[in-house]
Point group: C2
Chain length 283, copies 2
């Protein structure tokens, strides 16, 4: 971003019959492509299921001259927005209909038009809740018994993003345990009793790790000359981890320049390939 | 879902220049509207940034007669898919262009067409990583010092979904601490030193909680006649929590019949209102 004066833009309203997270993500992704536009106010209207609610929202939208983005499944409500916005000269981007129509035409099936079908409090939902509790319980090698119960076990030296990766995967429904690799600490024997296909080793570049650890020490108010951030020591740790990963026969992922999401995609693809799972974990 | 024979459908390919999570979510949401179609195979192709990659993907798509869904920002690549799919008779749903074109026309600005602009390893990314570590560190009242550092503090009796809610909010970038409310345990005095606007109390129905706790005891192999799942005891706990929430002057959310996402929306809206924040936490 630069300091050049940016064009102000009108608010964007996101109307959803569910949480509105997907509409928000697409809108944010698109806005990120316009650095010269001043980031506009995004207003999210979740759980909209009646035309009365839409009337109120569009009355405000008219005053603010807002752009309307919708992720609704009910066709009457979508038509209602289409007509209303046309009449008052606002723009409406409907994110659901193109794919829905495409599937309806191809398979001659009508869509349910039942809002929030994805967020029902069903068993997959409870699985996700327990996956997140699992990840907290078995974070940082707290209890080696977690390894045998986990879908995925993440290994890596300090500051290779084991915890956020575990939480991100847990949020998708996977039961994840993680263990810090430290040359001085013996690896729990439980680790050798599970399938190596369930285990992922994280690695990164020594120089990056040294920088990250120095920042961490600084944030804790400690001096940076510690062994923890010493380049030589870090190289030894990474080499030790690398030997262990080889001995275990596990997939190693280099997290250098990868976001949590990117690393998570690699872990998921690997896991799904090995265990032949569909994407239904992900709802 | 019923056992009636379902129509099989062709695979759906999701082509993204980033992780592909948003395309996957929209596709899953749309497919959930077609219960009579056999859930199709969804193949995700993340980090696609070159036409060579697309050629390979579309060659496979042709063999499988797949439906193509894309979330790409590069117009040449989108045009490439459009042309190619038209030529070989496949359908293509482009989720990004409608909103992008709408903004381009309205503000006479060209989009950057820079893939993955949202997932850059920038400061907001590192904030999110540390938010997730924060949530693990200050889960379950482990350390009352967390309350003063947290954006949001979640309170509630056992099994009101404090942990998954905290992890979900952490994944969005909020620093969240949580504390179980137990009549016999004194509430840490740190809680009275922070703004009540940062605190959320969770409550639910006693009967639901009794069922959830009974399942939990069963899953731990314990008998269900424990005090933990006793209806009278649960009512006392909820009343105690309710008094505390009132005394603190905090917002109370009833999580009965709400998914984590739904509760999280309410928490976020409340937090954003109080602290006048935009949605940039959410990227």
């Amino acid at each position: 971003m630069n300091n050049k004066a940016k064009k102000p833009i009108k608010p964007i309203y996101i109307i959803s019959d569910s949480v509105g997270g997907t509409g928000l993500k697409i809108t944010s992704a698109v806005l990120a492509q316009f650095p010269n536009l001043q980031s506009s106010e995004i207003k999210r209207f979740p759980f909209v299921t009646e035309s009365g609610q839409i009337e109120d929202i569009l009355a405000d939208a008219k005053v603010e001259q807002a752009l309307i983005v919708s992720t609704l499944v009910n066709k009457e409500l979508i038509a209602f927005i289409n007509n209303f916005t046309k009449k008052i000269g606002l723009r409406h981007v409907d994110l659901m209909t193109p794919l829905t129509s495409c599937i309806e035409e191809q398979y001659q099936e009508k869509s349910l038009q039942e809002p929030g079908a994805l967020h029902k409090l069903d068993s997959s939902y409870f699985n996700r809740v327990s996956a997140m509790e699992f990840a907290v319980r078995y974070d940082d090698g707290k209890d080696p018994k977690g390894f045998q119960k986990a879908d995925i076990v993440i290994l890596g030296v300090s500051r290779t993003s084991k915890t956020p990766l575990s939480m991100y995967l847990a949020n998708l429904g996977y039961k994840v345990a993680n263990l810090p690799i430290i040359p001085e600490a013996r690896v729990p024997e439980e680790l050798f009793k599970i399938s190596p296909k369930r285990i992922i080793g994280l690695t990164t570049e020594a120089s990056t790790l040294a920088n990250i650890r120095q920042s961490r020490l600084a944030s804790l108010g400690l001096k940076s000359s510690s062994l923890y951030s010493d380049r030589q020591r870090i190289q030894e740790e990474l080499a030790y981890a690398s030997d262990l990963f080889e001995q275990l026969g596990v997939l190693t992922i280099n997290v250098e320049n990868r976001s949590i999401e990117e690393t998570a995609v690699l872990v998921e693809e690997y896991y799904r390939e090995n265990f032949q799972l569909a994407f239904n974990h992900l709802i």
